[in-house]
């Protein structure tokens, strides 16, 4: 039982990170119908900025985090303005390929900046653990879960209550009508990219917290894509649930696979996200919360 609880908490922590990345993906897709594969690139770059501010410039970690998020958001806006704006009206496929290229570029830049060694974030959690009864929970995991809840909660409140959040939702439903109401749709796209880049930075920081930021975190970020797909690309609750499902599935696989399914070999946990995605898509091709496409045959 302890083992199970332990795995669940770990799963929630990883799941929260996936959820943050998947949320960025969904927000961009919903507002501008662009499939952005650049999330992991944005994350690596964002994590690097935080490393830079906190260890090279030796700022307080929280200040560094805030600056990193702001800088990433600005980079997101610049990317949207310079690369995606000219692609408005072009086929979705071309735009998706563009973001793949963008991801490669961002990743290479990120790798180059980070370098070969593992860079410490200077975060306050380190590798300390909290003992809760029989459970051993790392402080980093707790921080991840708590911060993700706060971030996601404030994001949902932003979409629900603020003028611009409402405008973003309206744009997601019907761009032309939104334009007719005087909503600056171009600015909505830019803000979507800013939010996505900011979320990616937070995710990167929690992936790198404790153990440190290395180029390898990008590989894990790619698994946020199955999370978004499972939830159904255009659903914000879907991204959160999808992220948690992937996180839990990975964590349970790490804990139990060697015991029950040893023939699958080591490190099967890295593949389990895709297996889950495959199974979900078999049953619900539009994802768990996604809008069902109505197609007349």
């Amino acid at each position: 039982m302890t083992e199970f609880l332990q795995a669940t908490i770990n799963g929630f922590a990883t799941g929260a990170i996936y959820a943050l990345l998947a949320l960025g993906f969904v927000i961009i897709y919903k507002s501008s119908e662009v499939l952005s594969f650049a999330q992991s690139g944005l994350m690596i770059l964002g994590a690097f900025w935080v490393v830079y501010f906190s260890t090279v410039l030796e700022l307080n970690f929280w200040v560094a985090l805030l600056l990193g998020i702001i800088l990433s958001a600005l980079i997101g806006v610049v990317i949207e303005r310079s690369m995606l704006r000219p692609m408005v009206g072009k086929p979705a496929f071309s735009v998706a390929i563009l973001t793949i290229g963008l991801n490669i570029a961002l990743t290479v830049i990120g790798f180059d900046l980070i370098g070969v060694e593992i860079r410490s974030l200077g975060d306050p959690w380190g590798i300390q653990v909290v003992q809760m009864g029989d459970l051993v929970v790392s402080r980093k995991d707790l921080a991840t879960i708590v911060s993700s809840v706060i971030v996601v909660g404030s994001l949902l409140a932003f979409f629900r209550y603020t003028r611009f959040g409402l405008a973003m939702r309206a744009t997601a439903i019907d761009q032309e009508t939104a334009l007719a109401q005087g909503i600056p749709v171009a600015r909505v796209f830019a803000v979507a990219w800013a939010i996505a880049a900011g979320l990616a930075t937070i995710a990167g920081v929690f992936l790198g917290a404790g153990t440190g930021v290395s180029a390898a975190i990008g590989v894990r970020a790619i698994r946020a894509l199955p999370a978004a797909v499972i939830g159904g690309l255009d659903s914000i609750p879907g991204a959160i649930v999808g992220g948690l499902i992937i996180g839990l599935a990975e964590s349970y696989t790490v804990t139990y696979q060697s015991e029950y399914l040893a023939f699958l070999g080591q490190n099967f946990s890295t593949a389990v996200a895709y297996v889950v995605m495959f199974l979900v898509l078999l049953v619900r091709p539009y994802g768990i919360f996604g809008t069902r496409e109505v197609v007349r045959v």
């Binding site: 409402l166 439903i173 019907d174 334009l179 007719a180 109401q181 005087g182 909503i183 600056p184």
Partner: protein
């Protein structure tokens, strides 16, 4: 004064939809724009409110002016800022939103006056106040049209462009919508009314234009249009000169005669 001067619009760089349209909507008046399907009425509205881009349309000649200042190069957001708001055909409400959220979206461009505009809209459409927390998609057709008009009014426009507000509504509701248009107008908003329902439009408009394949073929005060024989025959369904049933030969005649000479 909202002016359209010599407007020429091309879709997809090849389809010439408007071929030199000119008309004006004076402050505080109701002006009707009539015409058959495909005449280009909606395109005129899109050109005014800056929504041509979405449909791959371009203004190749001419101007749209609000109080003498050209607005056809502005973004839709800026155009709403100049006091011109379009209520699109088919209502296009945000179905998943509540009534109030729909209205809040309409107020995006003028957040400062939101409360004032909201109470004005609720006065005009009491039914929306009753249902402010309801999901907009579940409203009846007439209520949705009211919501669409109310949403347009939330930006407190000086010129409201209404695209077929009577579309798909029962006759009684059409009357109600007509009365509401008169009411909105009496509060000082000028209205450009695009309609298929010519009887309704001409009964409240001051002036009317008739469009055919991208041109304005008639431009007269509304009561003169009402009395015009051709308009009666083609738009008001009054059977023109004779009231007896038409033979097939008369239908040919109809086609011949439907070349406006004014």
């Amino acid at each position: 004064m909202l002016e359209v001067a010599n407007l020429e619009v091309v879709y997809h760089d090849v389809v010439l939809v408007l071929r030199g349209i000119s008309f004006r909507v004076p402050d505080g008046k109701i002006v009707a724009l009539l015409g058959a399907n495909g005449a280009g009425k909606t395109t005129v509205l899109r050109a005014i409110s800056g929504l041509l881009d979405v449909h791959h349309g371009d203004i190749t000649k001419g101007e749209v002016r609000v109080d003498g200042t050209p607005t056809h190069k502005l973004t839709p957001t800026a155009i709403v800022g100049t006091g011109v708001t379009q209520v699109m055909e088919g209502r296009r409400i945000f179905a998943e939103f509540t009534v109030e959220e729909n209205l809040r979206v309409g107020a995006h461009s003028s957040p400062g006056e939101r409360t004032d505009n909201l109470s004005r809209v609720f006065d005009l459409f009491p039914v929306l106040k009753e249902r402010r927390k309801h999901t907009a998609g579940y409203l009846s057709g007439g209520e949705q049209q009211m919501l669409a008009m109310g949403r347009g009014l939330m930006s407190n426009p000086r010129f409201l462009l209404l695209d077929e507000p009577s579309l798909g509504l029962a006759p009684l509701l059409v009357q109600q919508i007509r009365d509401l248009i008169v009411e909105i107008n009496s509060q000082g908003t000028a209205i450009l009314l695009v309609e298929q329902n010519a009887t309704m439009a001409l009964s409240i408009a001051e002036h009317g234009f008739i469009m055919e394949t991208g041109k304005i073929v008639m431009d007269k005060p509304a009561d003169e249009l009402m009395r015009n024989e051709d308009v009666q025959e083609f738009y008001l369904g009054l059977g023109g000169a004779g009231t007896e049933r038409k033979s097939f030969r008369d239908i040919k005649h109809y086609k011949r005669r439907k070349r406006w000479l004014s």
